[in-house]
């Protein structure tokens, strides 16, 4: 009887200690930023190469299949492409002039002041294993110049920002995550709002007043407010607007411009001072001068 009571007492004490530890851990937890412990860094560095290997295998298999399909269609396309090349060559001469003009105007307007001149190309090797968080893991980390809060983009638009980074891997809190809030502006009307992740790979545009003239199909760009994202990066498009009978703001659904279903490679924008000092890193230089 005494033995049973002692066993119960030990259980209660253990439960209480672990529960208190957990509550303390929750109180210290920040869903917007994380500094990984040494243990987390070591285990991540050991385990993530396996994830990278699996992601690479998938890419190789996809590429193999795509190549096969391409070969089948190559001979037909070859004839069409030859005709296109001759037409494009003449277009190219005109385009070069347009490009030079565009660059001159950009410099004039200081359009690209907020965007980092150097970017690290990284591949997606995994997703967060919990349902409620939409986070991706990249195969580049602090050794490659990446810092927490670095913005992450693709040619389609905004992906998110670096939430935590280890020497060779980093986790990105995507715009699909409910903890990530992006200050945006509607391209057509210059209306400001906040984009938050919701469900089904969609987002919501919040804090837009009922009298704002936004429409379905309007495109959203980053506003450049908040110090994380540069100004003018594509975020998404409005797909649904609902005016509830109550409240001062609209209920707006947004589809991200990035196709997260097919996301494989991303660009991490380095901070300007970091980009200047990182020489040995594999970077994609941005053309700035004609």
């Amino acid at each position: 009887m005494k033995l049973i009571q002692e066993s119960s007492k030990t259980k209660i004490v253990n439960n209480a200690i672990v529960a208190i530890l957990a509550i303390y851990g929750i109180s210290q937890k920040n869903f917007n930023l994380d500094e990984p412990t040494l243990f987390t860094q070591v285990v991540t560095e050991v385990i993530s190469p396996v994830q990278e290997g699996i992601a690479d295998s998938k890419r190789s298999m996809s590429s193999l299949w795509e190549n096969y399909l391409l070969i089948v269609n190559t001979s037909k396309e070859n004839v069409v492409l030859k005709k296109q090349i001759s037409r494009l060559e003449s277009d190219l001469t005109n385009m070069d002039e347009v490009r030079k003009e565009n660059l001159r105007l950009k410099q004039l307007l200081n359009f690209s002041d907020g965007i980092s001149p150097q970017r690290v190309l990284a591949q997606v090797v995994g997703w967060d294993s919990a349902n409620e968080f939409k986070v991706i893991r990249l195969n580049k980390g602090t050794n490659h110049g990446i810092k927490v809060m670095s913005p992450v983009i693709t040619d389609q638009g905004l992906v998110g920002y670096v939430y935590r980074a280890t020497p060779n891997y980093s986790d990105v809190l995507t715009i699909l995550d409910q903890n990530n809030r992006v200050d945006v502006v509607v391209e057509r009307t210059r209306t400001h709002g906040i984009v938050e992740g919701v469900m089904n790979f969609k987002c919501a545009l919040k804090y837009v007043m009922r009298n704002e003239p936004v429409e379905v199909g309007d495109k959203l760009m980053t506003a450049g407010v908040g110090g994380i994202y540069p100004k003018g990066v594509k975020v998404g498009m409005i797909t649904d607007i609902r005016k509830e009978n109550f409240g001062m703001t609209l209920s707006i659904e947004v589809v991200p411009s990035v196709d997260f279903d097919k996301l494989e490679e991303v660009l991490v924008l380095l901070p300007v001072e970091e980009a200047a000092t990182t020489a040995s890193v594999e970077v994609v230089p941005q053309e700035r001068k004609p």
Binding site: A19, F31, I54, W127, D128, E132
Partner: protein, 178 residues
């Protein structure tokens, strides 16, 4: 039945390796195959097994260990799941006379019941943490498809874990005392 300490360490190490395998499956293999929207949270299933089938003062520490490994793969961190795991374990202790995992259907039913407790706990804590209860429904809803799938595969995983922990199949809910 009482396990020796060395057996406990061995079984726990195998369980950790199993969890790492499942986490890689969920975080990399499934998304690579195009399944990105819903996750199968295997850590929940493994912790449910420990909470329901083991009778030991060391279980909360094992839950903590499993959640620390889970936090490598998720920004959720270790603390949320640890708190939920301890709450589930205490609930299982109170209900132990009613829990009989004798058939696959009963296992699925019990696992689903405890997953609901788990997910409600996690959702409430997240909403408290971000001071926004408007997301409660959305978070709970995101759990549902994955949790049903987990319940369906729970008899197989429980059978596997029962072999790892040497829990006799006819021992009712409280399988092994450590």
């Amino acid at each position: 039945m009482k396990l020796r300490f060395s057996q406990v360490i061995f079984s726990f190490a195998i369980t950790l390796l199993l969890l790492i395998g499942f986490e890689i499956l969920t975080a990399t293999v499934f998304p690579a195959l195009g399944w990105k929207e819903y996750r199968l949270t295997f850590n929940v299933l493994i912790i449910l097994f420990l909470a329901i089938r083991l009778d030991s003062p060391g279980v909360p520490w094992m839950i903590l260990g499993l959640q620390v490994i889970h936090s490598i793969f998720s920004v959720e961190g270790w603390a949320l799941g640890t708190l939920a795991g301890v709450i589930v374990m205490i609930s299982a202790n109170y209900l132990k006379e009613l829990l009989h995992l004798t058939t696959a259907f009963m296992t699925m039913l019990i696992v689903q019941f405890f997953q609901v407790i788990w997910f409600v706990t996690v959702s409430v804590v997240i909403c408290l943490k971000v001071s926004d209860f408007s997301k409660f429904g959305m978070i709970v809803w995101s759990f549902i498809p994955g949790s049903i799938l987990l319940s369906l595969i729970s008899p197989v995983l429980f059978w596997l874990l029962a072999n790892i922990w040497r829990v006799p199949s006819d021992s009712g809910s409280r399988g092994v005392e450590i």
